[in-house]
């Protein structure tokens, strides 16, 4: 998982282009053994148990190992051993970058040291990054103007970055692109002690591809079912966000999603472009106001 975060850092520092980073992450993803498969190979989990955990991961903001332990499928020690095996077998990001000729080894080592210093990352504590994805989001986007509410924005984006790989098998990249996406806005408001509206704008091509992957349906055009698939994805993401907030003492209620074509979001909304292999999603978050 840390590969994605270090890769994001390289992109942010303009040491890699978005295209180069996607290439590297795809190579890494193709060689990364899934924890569930490793557990089945080791005779620790059944296929049904792995499927159950994957299903629960869609409804919870938790890692595979956490759910496996909570369900008493695995012990903490077994999860740790599987993670060590997984780390040993996957392609290292640094190796892929050097092999592709994107950066020299000496340059990469210097950047890695700088990265560790900036993220307060000590050797041997790479896995703690998962819980500190906020740090990476903070390195890319600046919500300081949101004051005390900035924490909610960082947490929402970090959640979205964790959710996208689960539903779409993609490694999302936060980009710094100023080029706004033209397309359909799908949004939803959460109300309670604070009002938060979130929405995504994507062009038809990306919307159709994401809707197909999310729904598993044979969609050939952007119709009501395709739009509804993305609306439901947003609804489920926000549902998990409300659960996370509730556990922190903030009760939020979801309102029905809204779908609007070719509209301009409120200038008060924060725009966060997220790139995946088939296009760019413009994510908008607005506190205390609707997106439109």
């Amino acid at each position: 998982m840390y590969n994605q975060y270090f890769g994001q850092y390289l992109l942010n520092k303009e040491l890699l282009s978005a295209e180069q980073l996607r290439d590297i992450l795809n190579r890494e993803r193709l060689t990364r053994p899934r924890l569930g498969l490793l557990a089945i190979d080791a005779g620790l989990l059944t296929v049904a148990q792995v499927e159950k955990i994957h299903s629960l991961q869609h409804a919870m903001d938790k890692k595979f190992g956490e759910i496996a332990v909570e369900k008493n499928f695995l012990t903490i020690k077994q999860v740790e051993d599987l993670l060590i095996t997984q780390r040993g077998r996957r392609l290292k990001l640094s190796q892929a970058i050097v092999d592709a000729g994107y950066l020299s080894l000496s340059r990469l080592e210097a950047v890695w040291e700088q990265y560790k210093a900036e993220t307060n990352l000590a050797d041997g504590k790479i896995d703690t990054l998962y819980g500190n994805l906020d740090n990476i989001v903070r390195a890319v986007v600046d919500f300081s103007s949101a004051g005390t509410k900035a924490k909610l924005l960082y947490e929402y984006i970090a959640l979205m970055l964790r959710i996208i790989p689960r539903f779409f098998d993609e490694e999302p990249i936060l980009t710094l692109s100023n080029e706004k996406v033209q397309g359909t806005l799908i949004s939803q408001t959460m109300t309670g002690v604070i009002s938060i509206s979130t929405g995504v704008i994507m062009n038809d091509e990306l919307l159709l591809e994401m809707a197909k992957r999310y729904s598993g349906e044979e969609l050939i055009e952007v119709n009501e079912l395709a739009l509804d698939s993305i609306a439901e994805f947003l609804n489920e993401t926000n549902g998990i966000f409300t659960v996370n907030m509730s556990e922190s003492g903030f009760e939020l209620n979801l309102e029905p999603q809204e779908v609007q074509g070719d509209v301009l979001p409120s200038p008060r909304a924060y725009r966060i472009p997220i790139e995946i292999s088939c296009g760019t999603i413009d994510l908008f978050i607005c506190i205390g106001d609707k997106i439109i």
């Binding site: 349906e217 509804d228 489920e236 509730s246 979801l254 029905p256």
Partner: protein, 120 residues
Amino acid sequence: MKKMDILICDDSMLVRKKLKDLLEKLECQVWEARNGEAGFEIYQQVNPHIVFMDIVMPKIGGLEALKMIKDYDPKAKVIMLSSTGTATKLTEAIKCGAVDFIQKPYDDEQIRCVLAKFSG
């Protein structure tokens, strides 16, 4: 499992389609509503064995529709199916008379289990 009449009340076309596909494979007769108001109307006409009820819907939401159905038929078996699985929402739903609560996205096994549980 005996053949059952099921009402799906959800504003998501995708959720209705997926759930209907599954329930029909299990030989259930399925009715659909896209909001609480339509759901209550269909309930009065059909008296289904089980209702799968979303919470967040336009016009009349799931909790209000649940209360209307329970007022009309105190023995109604309504299972909430929602993405907002907070403890508060769960408690509220149970207080209003829901017999179970499934957080979206559900898996097919959860649906089979609740059908088996409430088919009697």
